[in-house]
């Protein structure tokens, strides 16, 4: 049996499965309706909030996750497999459950709030916390694979030329793993933007775009939710296509 046409056919089915609902959605909304949605302050505000909150989550994951991914890629230690498993936990548990778990640590009755007096739920910080929790595996795993692919002898060469281990990391390992880190960051940011379950429990307000769309759908039905959905899909698609193109080029 020839494999090529069969594989093409099966692959096409899967791509259609993704594309058809998106196109159906986009063409269900008239340009006028989409235009009106773009002018709507509440929707635009929620999209910017979503992009921003996910960006904070990604930045926090970069600062804390890159050292972790480097350690996981380079060192062998007791309990490493357990830590690697833990990193993947957010991917496998239902995100509403993740939201409830997070609420126990960051909620109004939590130790954190009792000690600091700071109330997190219902703030932009709460949104970022939810996004960080569910999307950090994308960045950590991608960066770890990136570091793993670098022969440790590059770092040894840098050290033999007088670099400190820190300098070898920043001048050799980090730039060499840049592609994996950038692509992991883009994936993490994207995953954060699309997060609903964990975010809705930690912060119904201020509303992120997915929460806003859900609210409109629930209160007013499909027709009212559709224009906002189209705008969100188009904005995120444009951003990611551009980011991917820039990331691949460098």
């Amino acid at each position: 049996m020839k494999t090529k046409p069969v594989f093409y056919f099966l692959g096409t089915l899967l791509i259609l499965f993704v594309i058809v609902p998106l196109l159906r959605m986009i063409f269900s909304v008239s340009p006028q309706e989409a235009g009106r949605a773009v002018m709507e302050k509440e929707l635009i505000g929620s999209i910017f909030l979503t992009l921003r909150a996910s960006l904070w989550a990604t930045l926090i994951a970069l600062v804390l996750g890159i050292p972790l991914s480097f350690v996981l890629a380079r060192h062998r230690f007791f309990g490493k497999k357990i830590i690697e498993g833990l990193i993947d936990v957010p991917v496998v548990i239902p995100h509403t459950a993740a939201g409830i778990a997070l609420l126990m640590v960051w909620g109004r009755e939590s130790v954190f709030t009792k000690i600091t007096g700071i109330s997190i739920p219902g703030t932009e910080a709460a949104i970022s916390i939810g996004m960080l929790f569910v999307s950090l595996p994308f960045l950590v795993n991608s960066a770890k694979e990136g570091f793993k692919m670098i022969d440790v002898r590059y770092e040894k060469t840098a050290v033999s030329l007088g670099a400190s281990p820190w300098k070898a990391f920043t001048s050799v390992s980090l730039p060499m793993a840049r592609k994996s880190i950038v692509s992991g960051s883009i994936m993490m940011w994207a995953r954060g933007i699309s997060e609903f379950g964990a975010v809705v429990i930690l912060a119904y307000h201020p509303m992120t775009a997915p929460v806003l769309i859900f609210e409109r759908f629930q209160n007013f039905g499909l027709d009212y939710a559709a224009p906002a959905t189209v705008v969100l899909i188009l904005v995120t698609l444009v951003i990611f296509v551009v980011l991917r193109a820039v990331g691949d080029k460098k």
């Binding site: 022969d151 002898r153 590059y154 040894k156 060469t157 840098a158 050290v159 033999s160 030329l161 007088g162 670099a163 300098k167 001048s171 050799v172 730039p175 060499m176 840049r178």
Partner: protein
């Protein structure tokens, strides 16, 4: 002088076993051994990149050391200039000085025109020159070379070998060069250390290492093609119905090795002092770069290296009857 005193290092299933070694200043020392013998680990310990579990490495403290790997390890995100300048930038040298030194070294190594090139556009030979330049610009007192020609084609390999020898002659640094290539070791080393499974089994001049292998394994590794095992009785080892005269009188189990260029082929029986002479037939001639390897069946297969001129003049064809002759003193015996 660099001195290793009972250096022990365990690395997974592998160990460097209480290795002691002395290398004089300015000496070109080759560590020869098969893959997995621990050569790279040993170099990395000397470079201070790995720490021995026990034992001491002396004479390298505070010395400038240049480490060069087989596969260059040029940083792919930097161009040739930035790679060569890397150590000088780390050392925070002035920009003009960096530029002058990088240009001077790269001119010397024949890569002056490649400084703005990206690493992936270079050939293997150019990459190794750039890697040598990157180490050389730091003016190391000790070079640690990890299989520096193993990834190169034959002609580039000899170019790089000549280049390294010229640099050694000119600046006289101490060089510790590890390789699995015994021809390279013979061509380059003042002294050779034979490393098997983390142990230095022999440490001597190239001539003595090659003429007096210490074991069957060493003989195999050093390119002895005629290695046979059997029982020695009355100065004869019995193998497959033939017997070969040996310098050893008696041994229940022994292995002998005869170098392929210690055997003479002749159409007629030679009247000579050599005590081993066998009439056999040519199996085939394998054409090598500088010689023909003739396989002669005398009951066992003997491998004999002869020149192209001899091969052609003797009209050796498969099946040609031929005499193989070698002296008893060229038979190296390893008792089990």
């Amino acid at each position: 002088m660099i001195k290793l005193d009972k250096v022990y290092k365990s690395f997974g299933d592998f160990q460097i076993k209480n290795l002691s070694l002395e290398v004089e200043s300015g000496e070109y020392f080759v560590i020869l051994g098969p893959s997995g013998a621990g050569k790279t680990l040993l170099l990395e310990m000397m470079a201070g990149l790995e720490v021995p579990d026990s034992g001491r490495i002396m004479g390298l403290e505070g010395k400038r050391v240049g480490l060069i790997y087989q596969d260059y390890m040029l940083f792919p995100h930097l161009n040739v200039f930035q790679n060569i300048a890397y150590g000088l930038i780390i050392r925070k040298e002035k920009k003009q000085k960096i530029k002058d030194q990088v240009e001077a070294v790269s001119e010397q190594l024949g890569i002056g025109g490649l400084l703005t090139r990206e690493i992936h556009t270079l050939s293997g030979g150019e990459k190794q020159r750039a890697a040598i330049a990157r180490a050389m610009v730091m003016q190391p007192e000790v070079y640690l070379l990890d299989e520096p020609t193993a990834a190169l084609d034959l002609s580039t390999k000899s170019q790089i070998q000549r280049l390294i020898l010229e640099l050694h002659k000119k600046n006289n640094p101490t060089v510790i060069h590890v390789t699995h290539d015994f021809e390279e070791a013979l061509a380059m080393g003042d002294r050779i250390g034979l490393l098997f499974s983390g142990s230095m089994v022999q440490d001597d001049t190239p001539e003595r290492v090659f003429n007096n292998p210490v074991s069957k394994k060493a003989a195999d590794f050093l390119g002895y093609k005629n290695v046979f095992s059997g029982e020695i009785k009355e100065y004869r080892i019995h193998i497959n119905g033939i017997h070969i005269m040996t310098p050893e009188e008696y041994a229940e189990k022994a292995t002998i090795a005869v170098r392929s260029n210690d055997i003479i082929l002749s159409k007629n029986k030679l009247e000579s002092s050599a005590r081993n002479y066998f009439l056999g037939r040519v199996v085939r001639g394998i054409k090598r770069t500088n010689h023909v390897e003739v396989i002669v069946d005398i009951g066992v297969w003997l491998y004999v290296d002869i020149t192209y001129q001899s091969y052609n003049e003797m009209h050796l064809q498969p099946g040609t009857p031929i005499w193989a002759t070698f002296k008893t003193s060229s038979v190296k015996v390893f008792l089990h």
